[in-house]
Subunit: 449 residues, 2 copies
Amino acid sequence: MTLQHGTLKTVAGGVTAPAGFRAAGVHAGIKRKRKDVAVIVSDVPAAAAAVFTTNKVQAAPVQVTREHVAGGRLRAVVANSGNANAVTGPEGLADARRMAALVAEALGAAPQEVAVASTGVIGVRLPMDKVEAGIAKALAALGRSEDAAAADAAGSGDGNAGSGHAGGSNGDATANGDGHGNGDGPDTGSLAAARAIMTTDTVPKEIAVEFMLKGRTVRLGGIAKGSGMIHPNMATMLAFLTTDAAVAPAALQQALRRSAQRTYNRITVDGDTSTNDMVVIMANGLAGHDPVEADDPALAVFQEALDYVNTHLAKAIARDGEGATKLIEVRVEGAPDEAAALQAARAVAGSSLVKTAVYGNDANWGRILAAVGYSGIDFDPATVDIWIGDVAVARRGAGVAFDEAAASAALRRPEVLLRVALNAGDAAATVWTCDLTEGYININASYRS
Amino acid sequence: MTLQHGTLKTVAGGVTAPAGFRAAGVHAGIKRKRKDVAVIVSDVPAAAAAVFTTNKVQAAPVQVTREHVAGGRLRAVVANSGNANAVTGPEGLADARRMAALVAEALGAAPQEVAVASTGVIGVRLPMDKVEAGIAKALAALGRSEDAAAADAAGSGDGNAGSGHAGGSNGDATANGDGHGNGDGPDTGSLAAARAIMTTDTVPKEIAVEFMLKGRTVRLGGIAKGSGMIHPNMATMLAFLTTDAAVAPAALQQALRRSAQRTYNRITVDGDTSTNDMVVIMANGLAGHDPVEADDPALAVFQEALDYVNTHLAKAIARDGEGATKLIEVRVEGAPDEAAALQAARAVAGSSLVKTAVYGNDANWGRILAAVGYSGIDFDPATVDIWIGDVAVARRGAGVAFDEAAASAALRRPEVLLRVALNAGDAAATVWTCDLTEGYININASYRS
């Protein structure tokens, strides 16, 4: 069973598009001027699943959320930017628990029903007075769930491009309490939450889709943030997903893990894996159909919608990598198996030389072949074909005469496709990354303060 | 048996410091203005050994030199910069063989007694007319071996800093034939050869040492080039070593392999492994002692001198990485075994976030700990201590109050030490890298032409 053509459509509202979800994002003063505390709440308890960073150094919120999601049920996610609450010892762990407890108390839920996420500078304690005030402010700004999607759609136009680059000048934070407490726009809605988890992201990232599942119209929404922070540190990736579909926790976990492998785990900005990466999904079942269990054929339909949403968010993260000017899609095909294709694609996407060549619109296919060469896969260079966009630049392991102007034009596009055919099998894999520019250096060489 | 304190001293002359070696470097027109063909010749047949890139894509000269060195005997090395002769098919292989044959013919040697190396743009055929003329010119410039060291010492001052940054303006290449055929200085000697293998290197790299071996005074010299090229492409690493010690080929190969593991394989600039990397050593035995075999305790003395020379050249390469402003030494200690220490040190040295933080003089120890976290080694973050220079910045996995000014001062030095103690054993490893700057982007984003 798969999604029928035309049955999946994008809708406005991000994480508040599904029934029964509310969201807010406010300025609490952890960052100087911009929104920094987000909450996403389900009106009713939701099945929950999550995937986390593989870094051995795991931030306090990762440890707490792992514990909480193990129960399979969440009412809310609370997140802050500006401080990662990582390597902060037992005190940091207590701070993360306190964030969950405050939200739980306000909702009349158990602390274990709240997921916590943080992103920002590591090794520094959270300013808990500000965090606590920010959580209270965010909860007050949640609004009614039936208004959320409408408010968000009105605030953001198409629900993604929004009011443009958040990195632009917004002036000082103005007085709070009117629901428009800062230069980032309204505090209520999905876009507010998307803005409140941004670090060096230049645009908020959100999406929502609607599709048919077990005879009902269901919705799935998500927000995400990518690489870097204003006080530069880790390239933390956070994504929060909501759906009014009914999916059992075990099935939800299985679908999320598979989807993360195909999407978030196939993007790379700089090869650094954060201490704070986290993807959390809540499925509150308000669409009213029977819960989808792991052996239900309908899970494939849900999976397809989930992959669509996560692919969108993952590509948005790669496109908005620190200093990036374009999205690079690396596709390796004709591999003996998917693992080899993925390994080769990751090497190409991770190559600083490839990424700078794309930045410079330089059809330097030798760097692409060389990256496959050191990827560790077993292959014969003499059978490899390479394309930049639609321009064939190497065939059977050697350069071919090609139109430099056409290749350069393919490289000047906002989305650049690098395609490598190993001609050694039927498997393929795609990885997304961005170009490497002076902007990356400028962002990351700055002082922490 | 090890080197006694004070018995190893540096001397001038680079690869021509040992008895019976001559070298030259000329401008052949592969590059626009700068020297691009080098030859190093031993007056008598020399025992030989080499190590090569692990990239699956191996340039034609790598394939040819691997064949030739298998015989254990060389008379000469010929190398060019400006073109890597990589992924050039059977024609490229024939070109590499032709380079060896031309030098062999002039010396009255077998083609198998000549090693070939190339570095530069890949996927483009060598301009063989220019290469052939350049080889003839270089052979003519070799001079007499007894004059070589003196000429070189006179030309370069301390034999390393030389006449300063080769990246400086040198004006147009002037008329040739007078032995000072271009703005890079004289064509005769080690420094000329060191200049002729440079790509985006900003300084030539050479060293020579003198030490006692089996009762004789012996010398060991070397030249090397590092990352990048004028027509930017691979970060190829080449090193050529000469000694008048007598070392049997098997012992020489063993010592070189060990030394490369400890030196060249412990530097990283950008993680890209070239198709052309090569280290070649020739030991002509003119010092007159009995050959050192693999089971001779004297091999340890030779090994120590070899490691000294290769460490010097490897650090010079890291220090002169593309766009680099400083050398970074990453030392991981207290590891359960050396492999774990090395793996962790490589992750830290390879982290773009760490390298940009060092560039920005930012004591961002969280990035260091996070890199250890994703290195793949098994460790407990709660036992880790971290120092920047002499400044302790983290203890037992958490930040400590430290003097930001002192840490920043430690980061402003031309050589920055990042030290990580895992407190989980007695093993240690050191890796060298450089900071990541706008210069790297500028060099590598340029068009190939």
